[in-house]
């Protein structure tokens, strides 16, 4: 049985009507009463932006067909419920890859647009929205609109990163990129602290299409923010497009006490020392490179029934990285961070989306097990630093940002709001707008 909850499993859903959409041509399914609706894809948003408690969701799993593919240009048109995983399964063997992919392939095309997702190649390719040529939008009035940079351009810009509030995205057209193999030439470099990260990132980002870093949030002093910088380019050395893939489901809900600070520190130390030499080169299949966690289905159960928070922000880059260091110090001191801390430099390629999250700077994403009030207090503290430095918070990962934090993160809100479909809303939206 499918559960229509968010990936962080917090907040819990009390009452949510589930509607389904089956056809691209039919009218939008709406509840008989005046409850609002929200499109639902694969529920990978961490917080409450993909749920609509006390209202209704429209699940899109039946919008699962490809519509057309042009091998001369790489332009693919598909219904919005098609997942990135399905696109990879079908098109990698033919020599094509997604222009931009997040850290999980279990998201739908509709979700990728609504959150204007980013990936390891943000410094080279920008967000997903930059590679969308057009899409169909079904409004509650029954209108079927085609949106592109030239047609209904306002709605095009509002829907990219628009959190599903401008209508139901029914089909999507994107431009795939050509690849010679399913493997990447990768390089993993250890950095002892944040200064080294900045240096390595500056040296390597121009050479590599893809880069991301894992950071240890448990060490202090001159080891503050040590970690592994992982970069890669699709390989020309091999022609193999065959996958070695085996997904293991996370067997059951783990007890909540498991992820304590001792466990975290041991895990982080082990992971940091997984390679002895400073730099290691390898030929890596795209699955473990892009989707290390997808190999464990339902890894979110690891956090037990209380669920967990993700926290992701971007701050403008200051020369000495003082803001990000200050944030690391707070996290280390709190002893609450988990093993999934990810650091990346965003480039300056602008998204067409008005509400899009990524912008030039440094972004950090991390998990916090839900320990209630102390966890919330820590994130509020971090908000102050992030927003004080002119940074932004990411709605797709959020279950707790304040009204003020939301406003500060979205300077173009006034331009966006007129495009919201009056029948659409979400738990997130009601929380940050009230």
């Amino acid at each position: 049985m499918r559960r229509y909850e968010s990936w962080g499993r917090y907040p819990k859903i009390r009452d949510q009507k589930v509607l389904s959409v089956y056809s691209l041509k039919g009218p939008l399914p709406l509840p008989e009463d005046d409850r609002s609706v929200l499109p639902y894809g694969l529920g990978r948003s961490y917080g409450d932006s993909c749920v609509n408690d006390n209202n209704a969701i429209i699940e899109t799993s039946a919008l699962s067909n490809f519509i057309a593919f042009d091998p001369s240009t790489g332009i693919l048109r598909a219904e919005s419920g098609v997942s990135l995983a399905t696109i990879l399964k079908v098109f990698v063997p033919k020599g094509w890859f997604l222009p931009v992919t997040p850290g999980t392939k279990f998201v739908t095309l509709g979700g990728a647009i609504a959150n204007d997702i980013h990936g390891k190649n943000h410094h080279r390719a920008g967000t997903f929205g930059r590679h969308v040529t057009q899409f169909g939008l079904l409004r509650s009035t029954g209108e079927h609109l085609t949106c592109s940079p030239t047609q209904n351009a306002d709605l095009f810009r509002a829907t990219i990163g628009g959190l599903g509030l401008t209508g139901l995205i029914s089909w999507v057209e994107i431009k795939l990129i050509h690849i010679r193999s399913a493997y990447l030439d990768t390089r993993t470099i250890k950095f002892r602290n944040l200064d080294e990260f900045v240096e390595i990132s500056r040296e390597n980002d121009p050479i590599y299409d893809y880069s991301v870093s894992w950071v240890d949030c448990t060490t202090e002093g001159d080891q503050l923010g040590r970690g592994l910088f992982m970069a890669g380019n699709f390989s020309e050395r091999t022609k193999s497009r065959q996958p070695p893939s085996l997904a293991i489901p996370f067997p059951c809900q783990a007890p909540s006490w498991l992820l304590n600070s001792y466990f975290m520190r041991s895990f982080n130390t082990l992971y940091y020392n997984k390679q002895f030499s400073r730099s290691v080169d390898a030929l890596t299949h795209y699955e473990p490179f892009f989707y290390p966690l997808d190999a464990i289905i339902n890894w979110n159960r690891m956090y037990g029934s209380r669920g967990f928070f993700q926290y992701q922000f971007v701050v403008p880059f200051d020369q000495k990285g003082e803001t990000i260091k200050e944030i690391f110090r707070r996290i280390t001191r709190s002893k609450r961070a988990s093993f999934l801390a990810v650091l990346k430099t965003f480039g300056d390629l602008e998204s067409p989306g008005i509400m899009s999250f990524p912008r030039k700077g440094i972004t950090l994403a991390l998990d916090f097990p839900n320990d209630g009030a102390p966890t919330l207090a820590l994130m509020n503290e971090l908000d102050t630093i992030v927003l004080g430095a002119g940074g932004s918070l990411y709605p797709a990962k959020d279950a707790r940002m304040s009204h003020k934090g939301f406003l500060a993160s979205h300077p173009r809100l006034a331009e966006f709001e007129p495009h919201i479909d009056p029948r659409f809303s979400s738990s997130f939206w009601r929380r940050v707008r009230n």
């Binding site: 049985m1 389904s20 067909n65 519509i67 693919l76 033919k94």
Partner: protein, 245 residues
Amino acid sequence: MKKIVIIGATSAVATETARCFALEGAELFIAGRSEEKLERLANDLRCRGAAVVHTGLFNSRDLAAHDQLLEQAFHKLGEIDAALIAHGDLPNQAECQRAWVETARALETNFLSPVAFLTWLANYFETRGKGNITVISSVAGDRGRQSNYIYGCAKGALAVFLQGLRNRLAPRGVSVTTIKPGFIDTPMTAHIKKGPLFASAEVVGKRIYKAMKRGESVVYAPFFWRFIMLIIIHIPEFVFKKLKL
């Protein structure tokens, strides 16, 4: 297997099976009752890698036209390696109890229509001497229950028909596969409240693909239904008749 006929291809489960065949580059003839849905699926299968996709319209109550549809499929594909019969609908039990006309209609769609297709296919494959015929029956056909026995008897009769057909075609090297799915989360069951036993159409569709490739005989999908039904068919009638199932 290269040339596949799928009747009722736009049903959620058969769509998933068709996609598996498309991925390996098969030639497909897909039949359904809605032209729009068929075209939508045909484009999808082409994008996924199907060498060729032909479509055919049919109405499960127009039995006389069934032979013609298969002739058309045969004509388009040149030959047929395997056929999947997947169409059916869930009748309203209460209406069937009120009027036998409804029951007759349910039996026509869920039993007689597949039998009409199977008659042609059996003769075709018997002469050809190899291939696979797969039909979607249901766990509901294993034992009659008050809540659903009209649908159950159509699917049960179909399962018995297939037993006989399997017996007849086995010496000719043709496999006959009976699929018995449990509850599936599809548009056909959209109005029913879902419990933990509901499987996704994708899981069941992939299982059917595997069964067709292997030429299996009777397949419960997902597998645990074999054990559930084993218990259900062994409950003594004097107990069973008092249960509210």
